[in-house]
């Protein structure tokens, strides 16, 4: 309600005060308190600095129904000019015409490559960028320091290798009859863990998941099987966690934060805000563990600002919308976003800021960003299902990890092939 009022006020003030206002730009993102707040503040600044443009943020509903609303509105010729989308959706949205490329006359490729951290390259389709982020995220290990102390582990020395991770998780796990009182690790295949297997573990074991031109799946082999086997062994062999320990899509996070029955989770930097606000215990964040070879890897991702076909209605509108995207991806905007939302900035200069790199919480994520890779999805929903199913075949049906990863790789390859054939 507050946001709505603010949006209306901004629109009204802008409309009344600026007689020469010419172009109105509609902005959409899904409804999440801090994100709406941050964007409202940015829009207020932008409108003040750019009297010839009025940006209006509309309430596009909760995350669960965001895609439907965007699809329905755009198909009806309405909806946003500038839209926020998850980078992984770029492929499917580009094919459906929901998002259009950023115009080269307003966005210089050399500038994008020097200003943003490299993972932004993952939304380049046929040489064109489909959006730019204000913030990025990486994965890290969240752990409950109180639990560490309780079982005699050093809370300031979180596991750095997967062996140490398994040992710690075993020590933290408490069984009660056939059930768990507490699990060492919050297993969540459909949370961040499918990225862990696909991108992090395979890279650590020596193979990138996809070829550089993103036409070939490379994890369909012994290395992919080893990654899957290690991950699933946490449940099947080491018994330090179990799927659906706490019900719900974010059950692993709730179990960690609210129930305090999960000692460690692997989650994105977007969880920091929730943990900060709601965790009533001493917690810490660490870089993702590695295997003995010491190779580090991380999965990076981001929400980005893209242009819809609506923004292409006129050159003036396109220029104004482009100006707005540049504004929300400026260093000042990234700093505001970091303060309000708690998400990491996407500019190279800010990521190197010592204030961030030495921060006890952000530090681990920033360190991870340095070697993080954003998987270039062509069809995020289907590619995720392929890996989640690969994990579940092993966990729930006792399938052989090699057979299971080969099947996932074949399904994934079919999706790449479909996306690469015009």
């Amino acid at each position: 309600m507050k946001h709505l009022v603010r949006t209306i006020l901004v629109a009204a003030v802008a409309a009344l005060g600026v007689a020469q206002a010419q172009v109105t730009i509609t902005y959409w993102q899904y409804d999440f308190g801090a994100r709406i707040d941050a964007m409202s503040q940015l829009i207020e600044r932008f409108n003040a600095e750019n009297p010839d443009v009025i940006v209006v943020q509309e309430n596009a509903g909760p995350y669960a129904s965001y895609k439907e609303r965007v699809a329905a509105a755009l198909a009806a010729g309405e909806g946003p000019d500038v839209v926020q989308l998850f980078y992984g959706w770029a492929g499917a949205w580009e094919r459906a015409g929901y998002v259009e490329p950023l115009p080269a006359e307003h966005f210089d490729e050399a500038w994008i490559q020097s200003y943003f951290i490299p993972m932004v390259e993952s939304v380049k389709i046929d040489g064109e960028y489909y959006g730019l982020p204000t913030a990025v995220r990486a994965l890290a290990l969240f752990y409950n320091k109180d639990h560490f102390r309780e079982v005699g582990l050093d809370p300031e020395n979180p596991p750095a290798t997967w062996d140490a991770f398994v040992d710690a998780a075993k020590a933290l796990t408490i069984q009660r009859g056939p059930r768990f009182e507490r699990v060492g690790f919050g297993i969540a295949p459909n949370g961040q863990d499918h990225h862990l297997v696909r991108t992090v573990l395979t890279n650590q074991l020596g193979t990138p998941p996809y070829s550089a031109d993103n036409t070939e799946v490379l994890y369909g082999n012994e290395i992919g099987a080893e990654a899957l086997a290690f991950y699933t062994s946490l449940q099947t062999e080491h018994e330090v966690g179990v799927t659906e320990f706490v019900p719900g899509a974010n059950g692993y996070r709730e179990g960690f934060i609210n129930l305090e029955s999960i000692s460690m989770i692997i989650d994105g930097s977007f969880a920091i805000g929730n943990v900060r606000t709601n965790a009533e215990f001493d917690w810490g964040v660490a870089e993702l563990p590695t295997f003995d070879n010491g190779v580090q890897s991380n999965f990076g991702s981001f929400w980005m600002n893209g242009l819809t076909a609506n923004a292409y209605a006129s050159p003036e509108k396109l220029e104004a919308a482009s100006r707005f995207i540049k504004f929300v991806t400026s260093e000042a905007s990234m700093e505001l976003w970091l303060d309000v939302v708690g998400e990491l900035p996407a500019a190279r200069t800010l990521v190197a800021d010592p204030e961030l790199t030495t921060d006890p919480v952000f530090g681990a994520f920033i360190a991870g960003l340095a070697y993080a890779e954003a998987t270039q999805f062509v069809d995020e929903g289907a590619q995720r299902s392929a890996m989640v199913d690969a994990i579940n075949r092993v966990l729930l049906e006792g399938a052989d990890p090699l057979d299971s990863i080969l099947q996932a790789a074949a399904e994934d390859q079919a999706l790449l092939d479909a996306a690469n054939t015009p």
Binding site: A71, A96, Y98, P247, A249, G381, L396
Partner: protein
Amino acid sequence: MTSTQPERRRRSLSLAHREALWAYIFLAIPIVFYGFIRFWPALQSFYLSLFTWHIDPAQRTFVGLGYYRELLENPVFHQALRNTFQYAVITVPASMALGLGIALMLQAVARGRSAFRAIYFAPYITPAVAVAWVWGWMYNYNYGIINTLLIEWYVFLERFGLERLAIDPQRFLTDPNLALFSVAVVVIWQQLGFQVVIFLAGLQGIPRIYYEAARIDGATPWDLFRHVTLPLLNPVIVFSVVITTINALQLFDQIVNINFTDQGGPLNRTLSIALYMYQEAFGRARLGYAAAVTVVLFAIILVVTLIQLRLTQRRVEY
């Protein structure tokens, strides 16, 4: 002067006509509305299913029946189809049998009937989302009450050395062989109230005199049920079969909201056609393909309903 006679006749005829005309006008308004928001989009979705999806109609590519061919070959769609039929085959007879049984018992009690009826009806008017969430927790392996009871039962039996009679705790929602059945139970529980109310109304509509006459002829309770109650309930049964089957074929809310490793999971074992359609349409932005799924779902519902009406709608013999 000569023209007044036929004119008057025409006028008197037109009075009846006019009444009919007004009736048609009033009927036409909802039909136009319904046609516009229901039939027209249905036809459009068939049209959409012949093209690849793009918001700009000029950029849609004609694929003809290509998506229907893809449906024939797609194993996930086949899984969704099998699951959906399983949901119908499990939930329709079970909820009807239980509903009829409870209605018969309620019919037999004089006191508190409406209170019972309200209690049985409550799940039906509870939002499916809330129902799914509560059941999701009840089914949970670690925290769920069902498994807690199973464990307590084991502990109880252990005291008498009867562990053999115990049932192990179950992974109701993550065991691929149990998940669909677990969801079906939730659906049955939710449908039950509807069935009870419908059957109760049907039972109350059967004149007492038939039972009295039959009893005088020496009919047993089973005879009464078999030869009086069941035949006279036929219209209610037909209605109930058709409505519950359509509901089962369109199952969506419960599956989306009860929590799995992923929606429709694990391993697509609970995926329904409606959920599959939704995932393809909005998760993958393939509206053309999803439209083909809806057309097939429409055809299935139509055929199943026609067969059911054919098989169940007989004249009632008194």
